[in-house]
Symmetry: C2
Subunit: 221 residues, 2 copies
DNA sequence: GTCTATAATACGATAGAC
DNA sequence: GTCTATCGTATTATAGAC
């Protein structure tokens, strides 16, 4: 299975793209994001993607040589977006503020890019056939780096003792849940499709959960 | 789309099944669980299910009239298992103990039944085409019921003020994450396939997270 | 670059012998 | 109940005109 990473360049022709090329590729990727995120890789058909892009199927395959290439292009574009909020965590900041801001960035990302989140979730659920290498290298490296910062805060008594990596897992899972499981969230809360009002309560819950006792371990001996 | 629930009976013929029928249906469902949970509904093929069940494709279709019926049978069997840990939360217990035990049950369920968890996750990600009604009725009702209990604990000062439903969402997401995103967890931690040793640290993290400050809100004014 | 037509195949499901 | 053979369709991908 072809592996991708943030470093990989998807540009086959060094020649710059024409205006119409850029527009059409963008249109295809937008349509594909919609279809892939709702149905998974195998559930998505070129017919539906072409239809969503308002384009004929052969024309679509003029821009991407096959279905998998469209999928890979989407995932590739996603990885940097996924890493960005984590990258911003600074060792120089106040732990409570840094972690609180990270949670808000992730939750905002979940709210603004639910389709991207579901695309990512589908890929992981399927065993990460395309981004396995990315997870083992770029992501692992960044997590290792940030875990050191968190560990230092713990050693300084600024953060409750815990496994830093699992703290990150908890932040990822709780924030992404509101995008990936939005249907369940809405049904349980009795909200209509498209209603995202639950994000307000979600933000409050996560603040209570993560900033309640974990922070300021010194204050509560 | 055909909807199912815990109340639905999947028995078409009241006549009791023969030994060989039971065995074969069980074999098919086990194989299908493996294939569906790894590839999603559309990614799974009858060929692979039949092969995994060590059975011919027509023979498989002798027991289930089509692919969807196998999928529905799996989901139906899953719903009660999914609800069971939540049902056990008792209003008469000590809040800390009750919630701690619930988290451990959910985490244990994640560890013991990762394929079932992924099957469920795939169904929700796809928009819950089969279990939408279940989510809106049985699950919502049970959540409403348990949320009342949690709210009473909050009112009594035994639990930090928060939205009870979102507390449940946080428990669901963090525990299920270790089954649904196990590939990512392993890759980030640098563990080999099949290694589930991270569940120890996971349990500790969740205890710290959920039982740290949330409980005994009175103790920390 | 875009289209119609179509090739090639994968897949769900059935027919019918045993 | 189980099998081989096969049908029908959906879907990926290409050929070739414009």
């Amino acid at each position: 299975m072809a592996q991708i990473s943030t470093a990989s360049t998807s540009v086959k022709h060094p020649r710059s793209k024409t205006r119409i090329q850029q527009e059409n590729e963008e249109r295809i990727l937008l349509a594909a994001l919609e279809v892939f995120s709702q149905n998974g890789f195998h559930g998505a058909t070129l017919d539906r993607i072409a239809s969503a892009a308002d384009m004929s199927k052969p024309n679509l395959l003029y821009y991407f040589k096959n279905k998998e290439e469209i999928h890979i292009a989407l995932l590739t574009g996603l990885l940097d977006v996924w890493l960005a909020p984590l990258r911003e965590i600074s060792a120089d900041g106040e732990p409570t503020l840094e972690i609180g801001a990270y949670i808000r960035r992730k939750l905002e990302s979940s709210r603004e890019f639910p389709r991207e989140s579901r695309l990512f979730a589908n890929e992981i659920l399927a065993g990460a056939p395309h981004i396995g290498t990315f997870l083992q290298t770029e992501l692992k490296q960044l997590v290792d780096e940030k875990a050191k910062i968190l560990q230092r805060w713990i050693d300084n008594g600024q953060l409750a003792p815990c496994d830093p990596r699992h703290l990150l897992f908890a932040i990822w899972s709780t924030t992404q849940h509101y995008a990936d499981f939005s249907v369940q969230v809405r049904h349980v809360l009795g909200l209509p499709p498209g209603d995202k009002s639950y994000y307000t309560d979600a933000a409050e819950m996560l603040d209570t959960l993560f900033l309640g006792r974990l922070m300021g371990a010194d204050d509560v001996p």
